[in-house]
Symmetry: C2
Subunit: 207 residues, 2 copies
Protein backbone atom coordinates (compact mmCIF):
# COMPACT_ATOMS: atom_id res chain seq x y z
CA UNK A 1 0.00 0.00 0.00
CA UNK A 2 1.33 3.43 -0.89
CA UNK A 3 0.92 5.91 1.98
CA UNK A 4 -1.42 8.70 1.04
CA UNK A 5 -1.09 12.32 2.25
CA UNK A 6 -3.84 11.74 4.82
CA UNK A 7 -1.65 9.29 6.79
CA UNK A 8 0.85 12.02 7.64
CA UNK A 9 -1.31 13.54 10.37
CA UNK A 10 -2.92 11.73 13.28
CA UNK A 11 -6.28 13.39 12.64
CA UNK A 12 -6.43 11.67 9.25
CA UNK A 13 -6.15 8.09 10.53
CA UNK A 14 -9.89 7.60 10.36
CA UNK A 15 -10.34 8.08 6.59
CA UNK A 16 -7.40 5.75 5.95
CA UNK A 17 -8.80 3.05 8.25
CA UNK A 18 -12.12 3.49 6.57
CA UNK A 19 -10.51 3.11 3.15
CA UNK A 20 -8.72 -0.05 4.33
CA UNK A 21 -12.00 -1.43 5.65
CA UNK A 22 -13.68 -0.59 2.39
CA UNK A 23 -10.90 -2.31 0.45
CA UNK A 24 -11.18 -5.43 2.63
CA UNK A 25 -14.96 -5.40 2.28
CA UNK A 26 -14.75 -5.21 -1.51
CA UNK A 27 -12.10 -7.96 -1.61
CA UNK A 28 -14.33 -10.21 0.48
CA UNK A 29 -17.41 -9.61 -1.68
CA UNK A 30 -15.45 -10.03 -4.88
CA UNK A 31 -13.82 -13.27 -3.60
CA UNK A 32 -17.29 -14.52 -2.62
CA UNK A 33 -18.64 -13.98 -6.12
CA UNK A 34 -15.63 -15.67 -7.74
CA UNK A 35 -15.66 -18.65 -5.39
CA UNK A 36 -19.36 -19.17 -5.83
CA UNK A 37 -19.09 -19.41 -9.58
CA UNK A 38 -16.19 -21.88 -9.10
CA UNK A 39 -17.44 -24.16 -6.33
CA UNK A 40 -21.15 -23.32 -5.97
CA UNK A 41 -23.08 -22.13 -2.93
CA UNK A 42 -23.12 -25.40 -1.00
CA UNK A 43 -19.33 -25.84 -1.01
CA UNK A 44 -18.55 -22.19 -0.29
CA UNK A 45 -17.10 -21.59 3.20
CA UNK A 46 -16.15 -18.55 5.28
CA UNK A 47 -12.62 -20.03 5.51
CA UNK A 48 -12.41 -20.22 1.72
CA UNK A 49 -13.61 -16.64 1.31
CA UNK A 50 -11.14 -15.35 3.93
CA UNK A 51 -8.25 -17.14 2.28
CA UNK A 52 -9.16 -15.93 -1.24
CA UNK A 53 -9.68 -12.36 -0.03
CA UNK A 54 -6.46 -12.31 2.01
CA UNK A 55 -8.19 -11.48 5.29
CA UNK A 56 -8.73 -13.32 8.55
CA UNK A 57 -11.97 -15.20 9.25
CA UNK A 58 -12.65 -12.82 12.15
CA UNK A 59 -12.72 -9.87 9.75
CA UNK A 60 -15.61 -11.53 7.91
CA UNK A 61 -17.47 -12.47 11.11
CA UNK A 62 -17.10 -8.89 12.36
CA UNK A 63 -19.26 -7.67 9.45
CA UNK A 64 -21.46 -10.63 8.60
CA UNK A 65 -23.17 -13.18 10.80
CA UNK A 66 -23.37 -16.03 8.27
CA UNK A 67 -22.26 -17.27 4.88
CA UNK A 68 -25.69 -16.36 3.49
CA UNK A 69 -25.30 -12.76 4.67
CA UNK A 70 -21.96 -12.36 2.84
CA UNK A 71 -23.39 -13.95 -0.28
CA UNK A 72 -26.42 -11.65 -0.41
CA UNK A 73 -24.22 -8.59 0.06
CA UNK A 74 -22.01 -9.89 -2.75
CA UNK A 75 -25.07 -10.19 -4.99
CA UNK A 76 -26.35 -6.78 -3.94
CA UNK A 77 -23.02 -5.14 -4.76
CA UNK A 78 -22.91 -6.83 -8.17
CA UNK A 79 -26.51 -5.91 -8.98
CA UNK A 80 -26.44 -2.25 -8.02
CA UNK A 81 -24.14 0.36 -9.46
CA UNK A 82 -23.91 2.31 -6.22
CA UNK A 83 -23.25 -0.68 -3.99
CA UNK A 84 -26.60 -1.36 -2.41
CA UNK A 85 -29.32 1.18 -3.10
CA UNK A 86 -32.43 -0.27 -4.70
CA UNK A 87 -34.46 2.95 -5.03
CA UNK A 88 -36.27 3.17 -8.34
CA UNK A 89 -35.78 6.12 -10.67
CA UNK A 90 -38.63 8.64 -10.68
CA UNK A 91 -38.68 10.28 -14.08
CA UNK A 92 -42.32 11.24 -13.58
CA UNK A 93 -43.39 8.44 -15.96
CA UNK A 94 -44.58 5.48 -13.84
CA UNK A 95 -44.81 3.07 -16.75
CA UNK A 96 -41.32 3.74 -18.03
CA UNK A 97 -39.77 3.57 -14.53
CA UNK A 98 -41.46 0.24 -13.79
CA UNK A 99 -40.50 -1.10 -17.20
CA UNK A 100 -36.86 -0.27 -16.44
CA UNK A 101 -36.90 -2.14 -13.12
CA UNK A 102 -38.69 -5.20 -14.55
CA UNK A 103 -36.37 -5.42 -17.55
CA UNK A 104 -33.45 -5.00 -15.15
CA UNK A 105 -34.76 -7.95 -13.15
CA UNK A 106 -35.06 -10.05 -16.32
CA UNK A 107 -31.47 -9.15 -17.25
CA UNK A 108 -30.18 -9.98 -13.76
CA UNK A 109 -32.00 -13.32 -13.45
CA UNK A 110 -30.97 -14.51 -16.90
CA UNK A 111 -27.30 -13.51 -16.65
CA UNK A 112 -25.62 -16.97 -16.41
CA UNK A 113 -23.53 -16.45 -13.25
CA UNK A 114 -26.39 -14.76 -11.37
CA UNK A 115 -28.84 -17.37 -12.60
CA UNK A 116 -26.67 -20.18 -11.20
CA UNK A 117 -26.10 -18.42 -7.91
CA UNK A 118 -29.68 -17.38 -7.30
CA UNK A 119 -30.97 -20.83 -8.21
CA UNK A 120 -28.57 -22.37 -5.68
CA UNK A 121 -29.89 -19.97 -3.06
CA UNK A 122 -33.48 -20.72 -4.02
CA UNK A 123 -32.80 -24.42 -3.56
CA UNK A 124 -31.16 -23.67 -0.20
CA UNK A 125 -34.03 -21.59 1.20
CA UNK A 126 -36.58 -24.33 0.60
CA UNK A 127 -35.09 -26.10 3.62
CA UNK A 128 -33.08 -23.37 5.42
CA UNK A 129 -35.21 -20.65 7.01
CA UNK A 130 -32.22 -18.60 8.20
CA UNK A 131 -30.97 -18.21 4.64
CA UNK A 132 -34.55 -17.47 3.53
CA UNK A 133 -34.78 -14.70 6.08
CA UNK A 134 -31.50 -13.14 4.85
CA UNK A 135 -32.69 -13.35 1.24
CA UNK A 136 -36.00 -11.68 2.00
CA UNK A 137 -34.58 -8.92 4.20
CA UNK A 138 -31.48 -8.10 2.16
CA UNK A 139 -32.71 -8.57 -1.40
CA UNK A 140 -36.39 -9.20 -1.97
CA UNK A 141 -38.13 -6.95 0.56
CA UNK A 142 -36.04 -3.85 -0.30
CA UNK A 143 -36.83 -4.36 -4.00
CA UNK A 144 -40.55 -4.84 -3.35
CA UNK A 145 -40.61 -1.83 -0.99
CA UNK A 146 -38.76 0.39 -3.47
CA UNK A 147 -41.21 -0.62 -6.20
CA UNK A 148 -44.19 -0.02 -3.91
CA UNK A 149 -42.77 3.43 -3.06
CA UNK A 150 -42.54 4.28 -6.77
CA UNK A 151 -46.16 3.16 -7.27
CA UNK A 152 -47.22 5.29 -4.27
CA UNK A 153 -45.58 8.29 -5.94
CA UNK A 154 -47.52 7.35 -9.09
CA UNK A 155 -50.77 7.37 -7.12
CA UNK A 156 -49.90 10.83 -5.77
CA UNK A 157 -49.18 12.01 -9.33
CA UNK A 158 -52.57 10.70 -10.48
CA UNK A 159 -51.05 7.93 -12.66
CA UNK A 160 -52.58 5.17 -10.52
CA UNK A 161 -55.90 4.98 -8.69
CA UNK A 162 -56.14 5.90 -5.02
CA UNK A 163 -57.59 2.51 -4.08
CA UNK A 164 -54.44 0.74 -5.30
CA UNK A 165 -52.46 -1.31 -2.76
CA UNK A 166 -48.84 -0.54 -3.80
CA UNK A 167 -47.29 -3.51 -1.94
CA UNK A 168 -49.67 -5.94 -3.61
CA UNK A 169 -49.09 -4.29 -6.99
CA UNK A 170 -45.32 -4.78 -6.54
CA UNK A 171 -45.87 -8.50 -5.92
CA UNK A 172 -48.04 -8.68 -9.05
CA UNK A 173 -45.16 -7.25 -11.05
CA UNK A 174 -42.36 -9.43 -9.70
CA UNK A 175 -44.33 -12.60 -8.92
CA UNK A 176 -44.93 -13.69 -12.53
CA UNK A 177 -41.27 -13.02 -13.43
CA UNK A 178 -39.93 -15.17 -10.61
CA UNK A 179 -42.62 -17.80 -11.26
CA UNK A 180 -41.44 -18.23 -14.87
CA UNK A 181 -37.82 -18.18 -13.87
CA UNK A 182 -37.95 -20.49 -10.83
CA UNK A 183 -40.49 -22.96 -12.14
CA UNK A 184 -39.25 -22.77 -15.74
CA UNK A 185 -42.74 -22.47 -17.23
CA UNK A 186 -41.59 -20.30 -20.11
CA UNK A 187 -38.92 -17.93 -21.39
CA UNK A 188 -38.14 -14.98 -19.13
CA UNK A 189 -37.59 -12.06 -21.50
CA UNK A 190 -38.43 -8.38 -22.01
CA UNK A 191 -41.56 -9.22 -23.99
CA UNK A 192 -42.98 -11.13 -21.03
CA UNK A 193 -41.97 -8.38 -18.57
CA UNK A 194 -43.66 -5.75 -20.76
CA UNK A 195 -46.83 -7.89 -21.00
CA UNK A 196 -46.99 -8.30 -17.22
CA UNK A 197 -46.49 -4.55 -16.76
CA UNK A 198 -49.20 -3.63 -19.25
CA UNK A 199 -51.72 -5.92 -17.57
CA UNK A 200 -50.89 -4.72 -14.05
CA UNK A 201 -51.01 -1.06 -15.12
CA UNK A 202 -54.45 -1.66 -16.67
CA UNK A 203 -55.60 -2.68 -13.19
CA UNK A 204 -53.93 0.31 -11.51
CA UNK A 205 -55.38 3.08 -13.66
CA UNK A 206 -57.51 5.69 -11.93
CA UNK A 207 -61.19 5.27 -12.81
CA UNK B 1 -57.11 -61.98 -4.93
CA UNK B 2 -60.59 -63.44 -5.12
CA UNK B 3 -61.55 -64.42 -8.68
CA UNK B 4 -64.42 -62.34 -9.94
CA UNK B 5 -67.17 -63.55 -12.29
CA UNK B 6 -65.49 -61.75 -15.19
CA UNK B 7 -62.54 -64.16 -15.10
CA UNK B 8 -64.74 -67.12 -16.06
CA UNK B 9 -64.89 -66.21 -19.75
CA UNK B 10 -61.97 -65.38 -21.99
CA UNK B 11 -63.68 -62.28 -23.35
CA UNK B 12 -63.76 -60.76 -19.86
CA UNK B 13 -60.03 -60.95 -19.21
CA UNK B 14 -59.56 -57.31 -20.20
CA UNK B 15 -61.61 -55.62 -17.47
CA UNK B 16 -59.98 -57.77 -14.81
CA UNK B 17 -56.46 -57.04 -16.07
CA UNK B 18 -57.37 -53.39 -16.21
CA UNK B 19 -58.60 -53.52 -12.60
CA UNK B 20 -55.38 -55.22 -11.54
CA UNK B 21 -53.35 -52.58 -13.37
CA UNK B 22 -55.38 -49.87 -11.74
CA UNK B 23 -54.81 -51.43 -8.31
CA UNK B 24 -51.05 -51.67 -8.93
CA UNK B 25 -50.97 -48.08 -10.19
CA UNK B 26 -52.75 -46.80 -7.10
CA UNK B 27 -50.49 -48.84 -4.82
CA UNK B 28 -47.42 -47.35 -6.52
CA UNK B 29 -48.67 -43.77 -6.27
CA UNK B 30 -49.75 -44.23 -2.68
CA UNK B 31 -46.39 -45.83 -1.73
CA UNK B 32 -44.62 -42.94 -3.46
CA UNK B 33 -46.47 -40.36 -1.38
CA UNK B 34 -45.83 -42.23 1.87
CA UNK B 35 -42.14 -42.80 1.15
CA UNK B 36 -41.61 -39.18 0.19
CA UNK B 37 -42.95 -37.90 3.46
CA UNK B 38 -40.73 -40.43 5.27
CA UNK B 39 -37.42 -40.15 3.41
CA UNK B 40 -37.79 -37.01 1.25
CA UNK B 41 -37.46 -36.64 -2.50
CA UNK B 42 -33.68 -36.97 -2.76
CA UNK B 43 -33.55 -40.36 -1.03
CA UNK B 44 -36.60 -41.78 -2.76
CA UNK B 45 -35.80 -44.57 -5.25
CA UNK B 46 -37.74 -46.64 -7.78
CA UNK B 47 -36.54 -49.75 -5.91
CA UNK B 48 -37.97 -48.40 -2.67
CA UNK B 49 -41.30 -47.57 -4.28
CA UNK B 50 -41.54 -51.02 -5.93
CA UNK B 51 -40.79 -52.76 -2.65
CA UNK B 52 -43.30 -50.69 -0.66
CA UNK B 53 -46.00 -51.13 -3.31
CA UNK B 54 -45.40 -54.88 -3.65
CA UNK B 55 -44.67 -54.73 -7.39
CA UNK B 56 -41.59 -55.32 -9.52
CA UNK B 57 -39.38 -52.43 -10.66
CA UNK B 58 -40.27 -53.25 -14.25
CA UNK B 59 -43.94 -52.57 -13.54
CA UNK B 60 -43.02 -49.04 -12.57
CA UNK B 61 -40.72 -48.51 -15.55
CA UNK B 62 -43.46 -49.78 -17.88
CA UNK B 63 -45.62 -46.79 -16.89
CA UNK B 64 -43.17 -44.08 -15.90
CA UNK B 65 -39.83 -43.10 -17.38
CA UNK B 66 -38.31 -41.58 -14.23
CA UNK B 67 -38.68 -41.08 -10.50
CA UNK B 68 -39.85 -37.52 -11.15
CA UNK B 69 -42.65 -38.76 -13.42
CA UNK B 70 -43.99 -41.12 -10.72
CA UNK B 71 -43.75 -38.39 -8.11
CA UNK B 72 -45.70 -35.85 -10.19
CA UNK B 73 -48.43 -38.39 -10.90
CA UNK B 74 -48.56 -39.14 -7.17
CA UNK B 75 -49.02 -35.42 -6.46
CA UNK B 76 -51.59 -35.07 -9.23
CA UNK B 77 -53.62 -37.97 -7.86
CA UNK B 78 -53.55 -36.51 -4.35
CA UNK B 79 -54.47 -32.99 -5.53
CA UNK B 80 -57.38 -33.85 -7.79
CA UNK B 81 -60.52 -35.63 -6.74
CA UNK B 82 -60.95 -37.38 -10.06
CA UNK B 83 -57.34 -38.52 -10.41
CA UNK B 84 -55.86 -36.02 -12.79
CA UNK B 85 -58.29 -33.55 -14.35
CA UNK B 86 -57.43 -29.93 -13.68
CA UNK B 87 -60.35 -28.29 -15.52
CA UNK B 88 -61.79 -25.35 -13.63
CA UNK B 89 -65.46 -25.19 -12.71
CA UNK B 90 -67.55 -22.89 -14.87
CA UNK B 91 -70.44 -21.66 -12.76
CA UNK B 92 -70.85 -18.64 -15.04
CA UNK B 93 -69.21 -16.41 -12.43
CA UNK B 94 -65.57 -15.84 -13.46
CA UNK B 95 -64.56 -14.20 -10.19
CA UNK B 96 -65.93 -16.95 -7.99
CA UNK B 97 -64.45 -19.73 -10.15
CA UNK B 98 -61.00 -18.12 -10.12
CA UNK B 99 -61.24 -17.48 -6.38
CA UNK B 100 -61.94 -21.18 -5.85
CA UNK B 101 -58.88 -22.27 -7.84
CA UNK B 102 -56.56 -19.72 -6.17
CA UNK B 103 -57.74 -20.60 -2.68
CA UNK B 104 -57.36 -24.28 -3.60
CA UNK B 105 -53.76 -23.56 -4.60
CA UNK B 106 -53.13 -21.77 -1.29
CA UNK B 107 -54.57 -24.75 0.58
CA UNK B 108 -52.48 -27.24 -1.42
CA UNK B 109 -49.19 -25.34 -1.08
CA UNK B 110 -49.58 -24.75 2.64
CA UNK B 111 -50.64 -28.30 3.54
CA UNK B 112 -47.51 -29.54 5.42
CA UNK B 113 -46.84 -32.76 3.47
CA UNK B 114 -47.41 -31.11 0.08
CA UNK B 115 -45.38 -28.09 1.13
CA UNK B 116 -42.39 -30.32 2.00
CA UNK B 117 -42.69 -32.35 -1.17
CA UNK B 118 -43.13 -29.45 -3.56
CA UNK B 119 -40.27 -27.53 -1.94
CA UNK B 120 -38.01 -30.56 -2.41
CA UNK B 121 -39.03 -30.67 -6.07
CA UNK B 122 -38.48 -26.94 -6.47
CA UNK B 123 -34.98 -27.33 -5.06
CA UNK B 124 -34.39 -30.25 -7.43
CA UNK B 125 -35.50 -28.44 -10.60
CA UNK B 126 -33.08 -25.57 -10.06
CA UNK B 127 -30.34 -27.95 -11.20
CA UNK B 128 -32.22 -30.79 -12.95
CA UNK B 129 -33.88 -29.79 -16.21
CA UNK B 130 -35.45 -33.21 -16.80
CA UNK B 131 -37.37 -32.97 -13.52
CA UNK B 132 -38.24 -29.35 -14.38
CA UNK B 133 -39.71 -30.48 -17.69
CA UNK B 134 -41.85 -33.15 -15.97
CA UNK B 135 -43.07 -30.60 -13.41
CA UNK B 136 -44.05 -28.08 -16.05
CA UNK B 137 -45.75 -30.56 -18.37
CA UNK B 138 -47.53 -32.67 -15.77
CA UNK B 139 -48.49 -30.08 -13.15
CA UNK B 140 -47.91 -26.43 -13.94
CA UNK B 141 -48.79 -26.09 -17.63
CA UNK B 142 -52.11 -28.00 -17.31
CA UNK B 143 -53.11 -25.75 -14.40
CA UNK B 144 -52.16 -22.56 -16.26
CA UNK B 145 -53.91 -23.79 -19.43
CA UNK B 146 -57.08 -24.72 -17.53
CA UNK B 147 -57.12 -21.29 -15.89
CA UNK B 148 -56.51 -19.56 -19.23
CA UNK B 149 -59.39 -21.57 -20.72
CA UNK B 150 -61.72 -20.41 -17.94
CA UNK B 151 -60.66 -16.79 -18.56
CA UNK B 152 -61.28 -17.25 -22.30
CA UNK B 153 -64.81 -18.42 -21.46
CA UNK B 154 -65.13 -15.28 -19.31
CA UNK B 155 -64.11 -13.12 -22.27
CA UNK B 156 -66.77 -14.83 -24.40
CA UNK B 157 -69.34 -14.21 -21.65
CA UNK B 158 -68.39 -10.51 -21.57
CA UNK B 159 -66.87 -10.71 -18.06
CA UNK B 160 -63.38 -9.87 -19.33
CA UNK B 161 -62.20 -7.55 -22.11
CA UNK B 162 -61.52 -8.91 -25.60
CA UNK B 163 -57.97 -7.59 -25.60
CA UNK B 164 -57.08 -9.78 -22.61
CA UNK B 165 -54.30 -12.36 -23.04
CA UNK B 166 -55.68 -15.32 -21.03
CA UNK B 167 -52.33 -17.14 -20.72
CA UNK B 168 -50.64 -14.04 -19.36
CA UNK B 169 -53.56 -13.40 -17.00
CA UNK B 170 -53.20 -16.95 -15.63
CA UNK B 171 -49.52 -16.28 -14.87
CA UNK B 172 -50.48 -13.02 -13.13
CA UNK B 173 -52.82 -15.00 -10.89
CA UNK B 174 -50.48 -17.86 -9.97
CA UNK B 175 -47.13 -16.02 -10.14
CA UNK B 176 -47.58 -13.90 -6.99
CA UNK B 177 -48.82 -16.94 -5.02
CA UNK B 178 -45.79 -19.06 -5.93
CA UNK B 179 -43.48 -16.06 -5.44
CA UNK B 180 -44.64 -15.63 -1.83
CA UNK B 181 -44.54 -19.33 -1.18
CA UNK B 182 -41.18 -20.17 -2.79
CA UNK B 183 -39.29 -17.05 -1.78
CA UNK B 184 -41.02 -16.77 1.60
CA UNK B 185 -41.67 -13.02 1.26
CA UNK B 186 -44.92 -13.15 3.23
CA UNK B 187 -47.76 -15.34 4.43
CA UNK B 188 -49.59 -17.29 1.72
CA UNK B 189 -53.25 -17.16 2.72
CA UNK B 190 -56.75 -16.61 1.33
CA UNK B 191 -56.58 -12.87 2.00
CA UNK B 192 -53.53 -12.56 -0.25
CA UNK B 193 -55.09 -14.76 -2.96
CA UNK B 194 -58.26 -12.64 -2.90
CA UNK B 195 -56.20 -9.44 -3.15
CA UNK B 196 -54.27 -10.76 -6.15
CA UNK B 197 -57.51 -11.81 -7.82
CA UNK B 198 -59.20 -8.43 -7.26
CA UNK B 199 -56.25 -6.56 -8.77
CA UNK B 200 -55.95 -8.88 -11.78
CA UNK B 201 -59.71 -8.75 -12.41
CA UNK B 202 -59.55 -4.93 -12.32
CA UNK B 203 -57.11 -5.17 -15.23
CA UNK B 204 -59.26 -7.70 -17.11
CA UNK B 205 -62.56 -5.82 -17.05
CA UNK B 206 -64.07 -4.86 -20.40
CA UNK B 207 -63.83 -1.11 -21.01
Amino acid sequence: MTPTPETSTSGAREPDASRRSDRARRAILSATRELISDVGYARLSIEGIASAAGVGKQTIYRWWRSKAAVVFDAILEANSQDGGSVALPDTGDLESDLRAVLRGTVAALTEPATDRLQRAITAEIQADLVVADELVHRLLRPQLDATAARITAGVQAGQAGESVNPQLAAELLFGPLFHRWLLRTGPLDDEFADGVLAMVLAGLRPR
